[in-house]
Structures are given as C-alpha cells and as structure tokens.
C-alpha cells in the first residue's frame, strides 16, 4: 500500500510534452486493463467458490439439482440441504465479505495506513460488543441489533479519532489507541458471553471471532439491503477517496469537500461493517486483509474499493468452506481468517519497520 500511495501523486507538468502524455495514457490504459482483469477473475472465482460451496458438503448434490433449487424448484433431499442450509450461508459469506472488504479498504485508504482497518482499531469490536449487549441484555432482535451495532460502531470511530487527535492524527497513535479501545470492548463482549451461560460455544464464537454456522435468511436480508444501499454511496465517492490520499490540503485544493466527504465515508463504511458484524460476528481480519491483497493484485493507481470488496467476499467464502471441511474438525470462519490474517499482520509490521517508516 505504501508504494501505491507515492505513485498516485499525479501532478502533471504545466505544459506536458507530447511523449509524456502518451506514456501516461499508455500506463493508465495498462493499469486499467489489469484492474479489469483482476475484477473479472475475482468475480469468476467467487461464482465458482459459491457453486462449490452449494454442491459439496456432507452430501454431494449435482450442479443440475443445485440450479433447480436456486431457481426455486422443489428437489427432494437437495431443497433442505442446499436451499435452507447452504444457500443462506454462502450468501451471507459473500455479502459479509463484501461489507468487510469495502469498509476495511475505505478506512485504510482514508487514514493512509493498512493497520487502521476497522477490525484492528476497535470498530468491529465495538459493533460486536453492541450486538451481544443488544441481544443478551436488551433482548433486541433483527434490525434493532443492527442499529445498535451501527450507533456504537460510529461512536467508537469518533472516539478513537478524537483520542488520537493531537495537532493532527498520526497513524501509529491512532492504531495504538484503537487497539486499547478494542481491548476494552472485547473484554465487555467476553463478560456478556460469560454471563449468558445458556449460549452454546458456537453462538459465543460468532461474537468472538465470527462464524456463519446456522445462518438463516433472516440474518442475510439486512446485510444484502445494507450492501445495496451503502455500497453505491461509497463507490460514488471512490474518486474523492483517492484524492484524499494526497492529503487534506491537496484534496481540498483539488475541489474535494474534505470534511463532508470524510463524514460520508466514515458513516457508510461503519454502517457496512456493523451490519455484517451484527449478522456474522466480527470475522477476524477480513477487513484488514482485503485491502492490501487487492492492492497487490491490482498494482498502483486507481480505486481499490471494488477489488477489495471482491477479495473480501472470496476470502470469507473460501475460509468458511475450508473451516468446515478441510481439517476434520469444524472451525468457524473467523478462526480460519484469523490464522491466515495474523501472520500477515506481523509480516506487514516487519516490512514496514524494515522500510524504515511510514505505513
């Protein structure tokens, strides 16, 4: 990510030479083609993984049956396994992954720091704690839980930002303060889970690391609506988000209303994260991983929103499938993404320190 930040500084010379214009436009075309290729390949992979998830499991269902179930026909045997168990689960994997990917890369780009993703600076932890509190203590259900999660997620975002603000926000300070806030919120979640002794281990895990076990359509629908409403808002601001990377002063000189844009970006990103967390729990490190992986795939330049969203969806789908069937024991998806993401987190810090400075 650090490389891409410096390379997007596109300040054209006053009178560009014809050759330079050619070079720049060729480069832009090449990068555009690469982006397109990455997006297409990722989409194909998601569809393939989705299909595999629906077909395979304890029992195998041939593609023809799966298609008929998806189209709404009644197929004996397959209707229940595929239609009631696997389809909502896979759907939630995709939409939650989209949410985490979008929300994560928005924060990472806006704060110019890959560590500043919502699952590290406490926003996911806040949404998770709020959701458990709403369910256990306030006995809320459905939309109430999501609303509560969003409000608390936003409050945490604002709190972390304010606490980190001292003559501007330094990335490292913000991340550390976020880690502190996350530690508190996670212990609140742990305490609520301790008290709610009637919950089984699976349900508890959903709130600790994220899990898709026992997903029903009731949980999927709000997240789908959230993606349908919030993702376009975010995508319409993709250009402004890119400009914000150049720094606040440059961005406002280039005609971006910095404060308003940032507000919109934060609210939408937190909304996406909170909806996904309320449904699937804070699936560990997906928000953190998607952006950097997408940046590696796409290369420098251009918005990372769409690629990162697709990477997030693919990550959750594949990790959930792997967690269910690859290890002999059934792991919830959050544990798989956590084990994948944790070494990457350490690697990222090693690389940053090696490079001798800014993240």
């Amino acid at each position: 990510m650090s490389g891409s930040v410096t390379k997007t500084t596109q300040t054209p010379p006053a009178v560009p030479a014809a050759g330079a214009v050619d070079t720049v436009s060729r480069g832009r075309h090449r990068r555009g083609r690469r982006r397109l290729a990455v997006v297409v390949v990722l989409s194909v992979l998601i569809v393939a993984a989705f299909a595999v998830t629906l077909m395979f499991g304890r029992t195998f269902h041939p593609p023809a049956d799966v298609v008929r179930v998806v189209l709404g026909q009644d197929v004996p045997g397959a209707s229940f396994t595929v239609g009631r168990l696997r389809l909502p689960r896979a759907a939630l994997a995709v939409v939650a992954g989209l949410c985490f990917g979008l929300g994560g890369v928005t924060f990472q780009t806006m704060l110019r720091n890959p560590l500043a993703s919502p699952d590290i600076i406490g926003i996911s932890a806040g949404a998770g704690a709020a959701a458990t509190f709403a369910i256990v203590v306030l006995s809320l259900e459905g939309a109430g839980v999501s609303v509560f999660a969003i409000v608390v997620g936003l409050a945490v975002a604002v709190l972390v930002y304010l606490l980190a603000y001292r003559n501007g926000v330094s990335g490292g300070r913000l991340v550390l303060i976020g880690i502190g806030i996350a530690a508190m919120l996670e212990s609140v979640t742990a305490h609520i889970l301790d008290r709610a002794a009637e919950w089984d281990l699976q349900e508890a895990l959903r709130w600790l690391t994220g899990s898709l076990n026992g997903t029903t359509w009731d949980e999927v629908v709000p997240v789908v609506i959230a993606v349908a409403v919030l993702a376009p808002v975010l995508l319409s601001r993709a250009g402004d988000l890119e400009t914000l990377r150049l720094g606040d002063d440059t961005a406002s000189a280039l005609g971006v209303r910095v404060d308003r844009t940032r507000l919109v970006l934060i609210v939408t990103a937190v909304g996406l994260i909170a909806f996904a967390t309320a449904a699937a729990g804070p699936i560990a490190f997906v928000a953190f991983l998607s952006g950097p992986i997408a940046a590696r795939l796409v290369g420098p330049g251009g918005s990372l929103l769409v690629p990162a969203a697709l990477v997030g969806a693919l990550l959750v789908l594949v990790a959930d499938f792997a967690g269910q069937f690859l290890f002999g024991v059934r792991y919830p998806v959050g544990v798989v993404t956590g084990v994948l993401g944790a070494p990457y987190l350490v690697y990222l810090i090693v690389r940053t320190h090696r490079a001798g400075g800014s993240l």
Partner: protein, 345 residues
C-alpha cells in the same frame, strides 16, 4: 527496602526518605485490607466470626468452607499481581519504553499459546510442565517481539515495539482459539487460556509456581542497579562499567520467568504491568531499586482489587480478573499513548 537507597540522585533530593516510607506503609496497609476484603467478599455473604474461624483452619459448615476456598485464590492474586507488576517495571526499564507490559508485548499470550499447544498436541498434564512450557513460550515471544520492534531505523522505539507486541498478541490469540477449537475435549477449560483469571487458584498450584516466582523475582530485583544504569543510555552505561548485554539479558530472563510462571496458572492477564510502574514512578521516582519492589507490591494490590471488584460487580457470578484489568488498564494505556510524544512511525 527504602533505607538502602543512599545513592545520590535527583529523585532522592526531591522526595525525602520519610515520604517513601510513608508510601510503603500505606501500600502495605492497602494490600492487607484488600487481601482481607478478598477473603471476606464473594457471592456468598459470610459473617465475621465465620471468617475468623475459617482463617484459623476450621472449615466446618458451608460458610467457612467457602471462605477457606477464597484463601488460596487471594494468595494467587497477590503473587500473580506482584509478578506482573514487577515484570512490567523490568520490561519498561529494559526496553526504555513507557508502553511495555507483559500483556501488551504479547509475552503472556505467547506463554498461553505454548501451554495450550502442549496440552492439545503433546499430552502435557503436570502443573510443573505447564510452567516450563509457558516460560519457553514467553521467552520466544519476548525475543521475537523485540526483534520485530527494533527492525529498521531508530531501533525499538516505543510505538514500533508496542505495535509489534499488539500485532503479535492478536496473532497468538488467533492461534490459541484455533488450537482450542480443534479439540472439543479440552475446550471446556479453555476459556481461561484466552482471558486470565485467578479463580482456579489452589494451594497445590501455588506450591508449584512459587519456586519459579521466587527465582524470577530475585533475578529482577538483583537487576535493579543495572536497569538504573541502562536508563542513562547504552553508551553511558557501558562507559560506567556496566555489561549492558548481560544486564539486559538477566533482567529480561527474570521478567520472562515471572510472566511465564504466572500465565501458566492464571492465563494471560494484561495491563497490570503497565499501570503500576507508571503510578509509582510518579510517586517515588525512577530509582529502580525502589521502583521494582514498589511495583511488585502495587501489582499485588491492583490484581487483588481487580479480583474483588470482579466478584462484587457481578454477584452472584463473577467477572474474570483479566476482564477487569483490561477495563481499568486500557484507558490508562490510551492516556499514555496520548500523553507521551511517542514518535510517529
């Protein structure tokens, strides 16, 4: 301890010896009061005569038996708190880092992962083997976090080290849950390896861990002079005749032993080692020969208090002490991150 501090120093000029003696007295009184409270308070309300009788060794009846069970728990809280407070002070001294703490630097989580792995895959069962494995895990983690934190220019700056520690801690926590979830047979007691608590303290477990704590504590206390010199900077310390590497290694070894042994019994507890040394640096100054014993006593008081709070706050159940220390300690951590001019990355 306080009257051994005859060396000259700014701290001593500013703060007369009598004030330190008073602080020590106050601290001891507070600690004793907290220990009493810890024995007296719990989900079951017990009358004073029964408490006194139970402390005298009489465990007839439900009330007295309950009190008798609180005694080892209280002792564990005192010992674990002292170990963590002392280890935190030593780590802050060794790394010259205001954000160092056995929990934040991931050392406790490393010990926890080592024990969990040992139980799940290598059939570890005896309490002493837990402690050895935990110390090994703590040591490996401490070294790797320090290496990661000191890569690149500027060495191990506070921010870099804290980030490396927090990241390592998060990574290790993921692995702990992965190991635990793979084994349903051990998942029941597994929560205690994610969030520390002192509820499981028995005289048996105390007897196993005590020798390690004594050795680690002595190593730490003996390194006080070295830490004072290290505080002057490596070059100056070497110029004054300190073997910098030896001083650092000895102190770190002591801290690692303390963290590992404590975590093997209580599970990972964070933030105790962060809060306490800061508090006493403000009260009695930076002389490690005073700071270390004070931090140990203060850590004992803090953890005992956290345990009592956890039992009062959620009657009739209880809040694990690791949760209470996180709720108390994390705001303090944020305060230090804000206050110090921790250099931006």
């Amino acid at each position: 301890m306080h009257d051994t501090s005859t060396a000259s120093g700014v701290a001593i000029v500013r703060r007369p010896r009598r004030a330190k003696a008073l602080w020590l007295l106050l601290l001891l009184v507070v600690l004793l009061a907290l220990m009493l409270a810890s024995v007296a308070v719990g989900s079951r309300v017990v009358a004073w005569p029964d408490i006194v009788a139970a402390l005298g060794g009489d465990t007839e009846g439900f009330d007295r038996a309950a009190v008798a069970k609180r005694v080892p728990r209280t002792l564990l809280a005192v010992l674990a708190g002292a170990a963590l407070g002392l280890a935190g002070a030593v780590m802050q001294g060794v790394t010259r880092n205001p954000l160092a703490d056995p929990g934040i630097l991931g050392v406790n989580m490393g010990a926890s992962l080592a024990v969990v792995t040992g139980i799940a895959y290598f059939g570890l069962a005896s309490p002493t083997s837990f402690i050895w494995v935990a110390i090994a895990g703590a040591g490996v983690t401490a070294v790797s976090v320090y290496v990661i934190g000191s890569l690149g220019t500027g060495g191990a700056t506070p921010l870099k080290l804290a980030l490396a520690g927090a990241a390592t801690s998060a990574a290790l926590a993921s692995f702990v849950s992965a190991v635990i979830l793979g084994r349903n047979d051990i998942a029941d007691g597994a929560r205690s390896w994610q969030i520390g608590g002192v509820g499981g303290g028995t005289f048996d477990s105390l007897s196993h861990v005590l020798p390690f704590l004594v050795v680690g504590g002595l190593l730490c206390l003996l390194s006080a002079r070295g830490l004072d010199l290290l505080a002057l900077g490596d070059e100056l310390a070497a110029g004054l005749g300190t073997r910098v590497a030896t001083a650092r290694a000895g102190a770190s070894l002591g801290a690692v032993v303390l963290c590992g042994a404590t975590t093997a019994v209580t599970g990972p507890i964070a933030f105790v080692g962060l809060v306490v040394p800061h508090l006493f640096r403000m009260l009695i100054g930076t002389d490690h020969r005073l700071l270390l014993p004070f931090s140990a006593l203060g850590g004992a008081a803090l953890l005992t208090a956290a345990d009592v709070i956890g039992r009062i706050a959620a009657r009739p159940s209880e809040v694990a002490v690791g949760i209470v220390t996180a709720l108390i300690g994390a705001p303090f951590f944020i305060f230090i991150v804000r206050r110090h001019k921790v250099r931006a990355l």
